[in-house]
Symmetry: C2
Subunit: 349 residues, 2 copies
């Protein structure tokens, strides 16, 4: 048995209706809702077929039907195809975002937080955004400065302009010349290298050349290695987690508590980010419906993600998390526009 035109229309009608109300939808509703002019009995027959095919589910014998994950999937896939053309019309909301982004170009963290918040307010779903993650991880710049008699400041810049600072306490006195020499030594030897390329031999060589400052070199190298391998704790900002309470299917204590924890701990979200970044996709938009999501605690949710790219290899992920019956249309088009805006905005830098 295959999906003919009519079954498709009925399925769409069921889903649309369910997205609005969140209640199981019955045959009589559909009979009036669509322009098919069919009686409820006919709809019932078709619905029985749709259920057999796995597109809809009956929560209990005498209830209407709700879409299954498979049903949502079909709906979303089809929507993605149809809506392709009218993407470019930016909504007022997104224009607001862009304005905000342009105004505060200075502070990445503040921008990302604002974007997350704005998305949450506009969509009424929970949102997350990950700070752009650098792939290359080459050392770009290194500088040691004397803060005062006992403390050195080490500034490390890695590819993608991620800046790390670290303070080192020293015992011996260092004069300006010693520091200048250290800077020269380290920069000439290490610049442009990846973490794997800084091996024991090189370290030994550096220490030897540093002479009496050997132990300082150790401390500095620790700083560098930490800066270069910080892929385990990327920043992720969330907003609107309280929105889950707006959807009864997510708001019971068990589920809510789990979701809140997931958002707070962030480390599970990180897995989601990694997943989206690897699984490349022509549109850059991914939709996970119910059990499709890589995060167990979100199995009753749908997750829509967009990856944005600031420059070659510097990518981040935006995610919107809501109930299965989220407004996919709005969410996807919002994310598409935002994504393209972020892409261009930063690329012109």
């Amino acid at each position: 048995m295959d999906l003919d035109e009519r079954k498709l229309k009925i399925l769409q009608a069921i889903i649309r209706n369910y997205l609005e109300t969140g209640e199981p939808v019955g045959s009589r509703t559909i009979s009036k809702y669509t322009d098919l002019n069919l009686s409820s009995a006919t709809i019932r027959n078709e619905m029985a077929d749709l259920e057999e095919l796995g597109y809809i589910i009956q929560p209990h014998t005498s209830a209407g039907r709700i879409p299954s994950d498979k049903g949502y999937r079909l709906y979303v896939d089809q929507m993605m195809l149809e809506k392709e053309e009218q993407l470019s019309q930016a909504t007022q909301e997104v224009k607001d975002m862009q304005k905000l982004l342009l105004e505060r170009e200075d502070k990445m963290e503040a921008i990302l937080k604002q974007v997350a918040k704005m998305l949450a307010v506009n969509t009424n779903y929970a949102t997350m955004i990950s700070a752009p993650q650098v792939k290359g991880n080459r050392l770009k710049f290194l500088q040691i400065s004397k803060l005062d008699e006992t403390q050195l400041l080490v500034t490390v810049v890695i590819e993608g302009n991620v800046i790390k600072n670290h303070m080192i306490s020293v015992n011996e006195l260092l004069d300006d010349e010693a520091i200048w020499k250290l800077n020269l030594l380290l920069n000439t030897n290490l610049n442009g290298l990846r973490i794997e390329e800084i091996n024991l031999a090189m370290i030994a060589k550096l220490k030897q050349q540093a002479g009496v400052y050997e132990n300082i070199i150790t401390a500095i190298l620790d700083t560098i290695s930490e800066a270069l391998q910080n892929d385990d704790d990327i920043e992720i900002y969330t907003s609107g987690t309280n929105n889950i309470f707006k959807y009864p299917e997510l708001a019971d204590q068990q589920r809510a508590s789990e979701l809140i924890t997931t958002f707070e701990e962030k480390q599970l979200l990180n897995e989601l980010v990694q997943e989206t970044l690897t699984e490349e996709n022509s549109t850059g938009i991914q939709v996970y419906i119910g059990n499709e999501t890589p995060i167990q605690t979100m199995k009753d949710c749908s997750v829509v993600t967009a990856t944005y790219e600031l420059e070659e290899g510097v990518k981040g992920t935006i995610g919107i998390i809501g109930p299965r019956r989220m407004d996919y249309d709005k969410v996807i088009s919002t994310l598409k526009t935002l994504k393209s805006q972020l892409d261009t905005l930063y690329k012109k830098d």
Copy 2:
């Protein structure tokens, strides 16, 4: 009518019992619970008095009594007096924390997050911790470095060793000597100054001396001013917000949603931090019971805060947020120990 010995004992018994169970406690329970050897009828008479005095409340006619804010307050105040001596015995839990703090002295942010998490796990309440806030706000160190042909890195260190970085795009080419001169110019003129002390006259003078690099000076000064006046967005880390679901009196959707939002937005928590930092107190521990808290959304909670001090004027706040019937004894002693540990740990730096 005053509180005699017996009334006090009964009040304590009511509170202790309520802290455990969360259920209104009746006269018969108290009659058995205490070593007073009084019949339930007598207890009832005393409870009627206690209610008239405002220490306990009857949720409805045929229920037991629960403590009022006034009752809790009396209980806590008395506990604080009695427990003074046995503070120093650090629990295993707190020793774990200290170990963790010592191991990872390098990363403030990671430490604070860990402390918050550990506290949350150990107490089963929601926790927050604010990064230490610098009062002085003097410029300690300033450095401009050339990242590449088009970008300068400005590193600003302010009193209390807070480090800020900023990148500036430049059009004209700068050689090493020019940068060296800029560094010298800025450091000699600005070091040790507060933001109010960098006035228009000084800026004009700097610009004049900078000659062709006038516009770079402007950008750098912007960075400095931003770094110096960042008191509006201190970092606050939270953990264990999902713990509120463990207490039915906080777990209904309305309240939970509000609390979650408060924890997520953080800006209300900031007010709490400011409040605790100003309202000085000999012990450094503050207890807000129910409506006493400065944050409206927490009127059904109790909040216990401790201020810690890393060095002169560099202070932060730790807060534990739970239901009115929180285990004040445990929470206060844990915070006291943690506070003293933090105080000494960093002071020796």
